[in-house]
Symmetry: C2
Subunit: 164 residues, 2 copies
């Protein structure tokens, strides 16, 4: 965990924030949800110092939010893959994304679309699909680049949209 800033807080939010409350950690989590797996991918989209990224990835692996696995395409080098525990944070992050879209809009539209995988419907602020009405959980999200990100891929992995 990060330093325990709130040792006497009996609160699940405070405990969650001790793990993922540091802002870089949340942005690393975002990139993992968007499909980033390699150290260089996180570094490129975040512009984060190597030592900071190393320590954050270690924290997230120690806490079981990410898993360090061998990268078959690059023998001897690791990749960082979301665990189920990490994937479970996706919906909360999507809610934060949609709050930002509403209150701090980018000219041109949202940087990422939030679609119901398979169905293709737009996901609303309540995380329900506007097309089929289903509540959309981790593993059912598609986040393709949106109109607000044209001309740049910063702020998100440049990879193809990926289910989370």
């Amino acid at each position: 965990m990060l330093q325990r800033d709130y040792p006497d807080q009996i609160c699940s939010i405070a405990r969650s924030l001790e793990v993922i409350g540091e802002r870089w950690t949340l942005l690393i989590l975002r990139d993992a949800i968007l499909g980033a797996e390699r150290f260089e991918e996180f570094q490129e989209t975040l512009g984060i110092a190597s030592n900071v990224l190393t320590s954050r990835l270690k924290l997230m692996c120690d806490e079981g939010v990410l898993e360090r696995l061998p990268d078959e395409q690059r023998p001897g080098r690791p990749k960082y893959v979301l665990t189920e525990k990490g994937r479970e944070l996706g919906p909360a992050l999507i809610m934060l994304m949609k709050w930002g879209d509403r209150h701090y809009p980018t000219s041109g539209g949202p940087p990422r679309l939030t679609l119901h995988a398979g169905c293709g419907g737009d996901i609303g602020a309540d995380l329900c699909c506007k097309r089929c009405g289903q509540s959309v959980g981790p593993g059912e999200l598609e986040l393709p680049l949106g109109p607000g990100i044209t001309g740049s891929t910063r702020g998100g992995s440049a990879q193809a949209p990926k289910r989370t």
Copy 2:
């Protein structure tokens, strides 16, 4: 906003975090959702330094997450009330709370229950009511003290449960 740590990040999550990404800010937001309104109430549950609390409340008022209103019961003194924009962050915070409950459980059970206001059903990880099946939005949450908080009211307002 907080200092712009991510000026070249075209991302709604990064923009949201610039407003509410600092951990104290998220815990102040939590207390506001639980019903705290007065400076002293935030200070008591958070154990936060006055100058830090003052600057965080100012940020949250500047950003329209909280509103500074006169406290009718204490002429000349303010209270801090969630705006609609602030209330909209409730569901994301509840998701974070439930993630913490699952992965970092308190002995005895969750510190707060998450109930569907009016209906009384327990709210699931997908923010749907387990009793009536409805997706539960801001203003429909009740967060009474749970079994994990017996013997202490730290980490949350000691007030009566309040709808958010």
